[in-house]
Symmetry: C2
Subunit: 171 residues, 2 copies
């Protein structure tokens, strides 16, 4: 049933549906709306869960090159490619317009935080000086996503420049 729900959400977002509500998703997935109301607080929570699941399913593997600089460069490239795919752009925009209340943690950011933490931890174990995890989120992740949601260009060069900048913070 979860697969049907996820697929329905994916289809609706993919089609650029205007209003993605529980009844609309339930109808497409062939489930009872009550199921959705019971399981998720709101449509946004479901959208995010699907987006995070899609992120994982795409099998993004975390770079492990032996240097934080190269890890971050590859990681930023992977993210830049991923979040500029039309389907992902639509997800991100749907998420932005669905958000109303201030949240303490955004699941998409949390995924990136975990990934950054892992790379930073490995680098520190190797004795490398590193920027902090919040610095990586603020200065690599935030500008990449900012560009995508405001429809500004994102490319390899831009991703590299952000990584270069955040690394100067430790010198």
């Amino acid at each position: 049933m979860l697969t049907a729900i996820y697929t329905a959400v994916g289809e609706l977002v993919g089609e650029g549906a205007d209003r993605i509500s529980f009844p609309v998703i339930a109808e497409r997935a062939g489930v009872n709306p009550t199921t959705l109301y019971r399981r998720w607080d709101d449509v946004n929570a479901l959208l995010e869960e699907v987006a995070v699941a899609a992120l994982t399913r795409d099998g993004e593997s975390l770079p492990d090159t032996g240097s934080l600089e190269h890890d971050l460069a590859q990681w930023a490239d992977i993210i830049a490619r991923d979040i500029t795919r039309p389907e992902r752009v639509r997800y991100l925009r749907a998420m932005v317009s669905a958000r109303v209340d201030i949240v303490s943690a955004c699941p998409v950011t949390e995924t990136r935080r975990e990934q950054a933490s892992k790379m930073v931890r490995r680098a520190r174990e190797r004795g490398e000086a590193t920027p902090t995890v919040p610095q990586i989120l603020d200065h690599v992740i935030a500008p990449l996503y900012y560009h995508v949601v405001f429809a500004l260009p994102v490319d390899h060069e831009y991703a590299r420049r952000l990584v270069h900048d955040v690394l100067t913070m430790v010198r």
Copy 2:
């Protein structure tokens, strides 16, 4: 007539209207929709013009304290306060969901770019070492707006941390 149109857009955004289209704006403003189609390429262009106008009208004055560090700190605070106002948050979200095609320049970013350029120019004239204008946009502006559109908290401390980080880039 422009005032009526701007006011109509402001009201609709303020009310959190679902679909802000030319006909909807025209009806509210009491003008012929043709006027809007002739003057603006799309609704998004109009929304942005109104947002930029509102920004200017609010009379944000650019800090000029005699040091880039203090200028940036005050500027980041002003922006943090401005873009977390409920009306501004709605504008930004409306803009994000209205955007479809990649743009080479986002008017909101351009306003910030001009402001940053002015402060950096003054600092260089005083002989201060400075980060570049793109670095200020990527590492102060982008994270602030990213937080707002993804509904993450933005406060004085956060704004200060970003300014501190971008300044370490020149050392």
